[in-house]
Assembly symmetry: C2
Homo-oligomer: 116 residues x 2
DNA sequence: CGGCATCCTTATGGATACTG
DNA sequence: CAGTATCCATAAGGATGCCG
């Protein structure tokens, strides 16, 4: 979020928008969840299998946060046993091209040190 | 960093590169520092004035981290009083266009909720 | 001036048992 | 099956005093 009690700067408008973008992929697992759900709609147990190192609390919490942000959608099917599916929303999908462009930054900083 | 003990997925290569990109803007102040230094080279005290809410420890630590990552450069001028200037490196500058594209994601998620 | 060292508070992530 | 609740561990950020 915005730091408090600071002098307004021209960079603030940019900062705020980029921060909002970062919010959807902050944390250790959100980016993974988005990339996985770009491939398929998945149910809760399938996400757990693909992310074995994440705890129940964190997985459920991150999914809930992404739903609130409007990145993914949660569909409940009142079957027995219960089925819950998670799907990227159109807004979530629209963010993917730019997320994938960020790989370019990653590649730039994989190269050798060049402090010019 | 990469989560440990998980099954390898096709998304891993993407995840790793995007994570590396995120590393340079993770934390509460790095994005601010980069945007400020894109406008001018600044000395330590000037950065402090423009970011009044940041503590000495955090500011100095983040600057050091960005130098280590190769995003910014630290130039020391052995004057009295001492002068230290921070400047974006060419690698740092090359990341800016993509960072600015992320504003598009921010705008998408500023719009009304649309869970399709 | 430009930090670093120390101590403290808060945020994030995790393990595990239990529930609708 | 798909979570919640509780408690715990670690990391990130902050306040402040001191030093080259």
């Amino acid at each position: 979020m915005m730091p408090k009690d600071r002098i307004a700067q021209p960079a603030d408008a940019e900062y705020t928008l980029i921060r909002r973008a970062l919010e959807i992929i902050s944390g250790k697992w959100r980016l993974y969840l988005i990339l996985l759900l770009d491939e398929h709609t998945l149910r809760y147990s399938e996400l757990r299998q693909r992310l074995p190192a994440v705890s129940e609390k964190v997985l459920a919490g991150e999914l809930k946060a992404l739903v609130t942000l409007g990145v993914i959608r949660r569909d409940v099917f009142a079957e027995v046993p219960l089925r819950v599916e998670y799907t990227l929303t159109s807004k979530g999908r629209s963010a993917l091209p730019i997320l994938r462009q960020m790989k370019q930054i990653g590649q730039i900083f994989n190269e050798h040190f060049d402090a010019t």
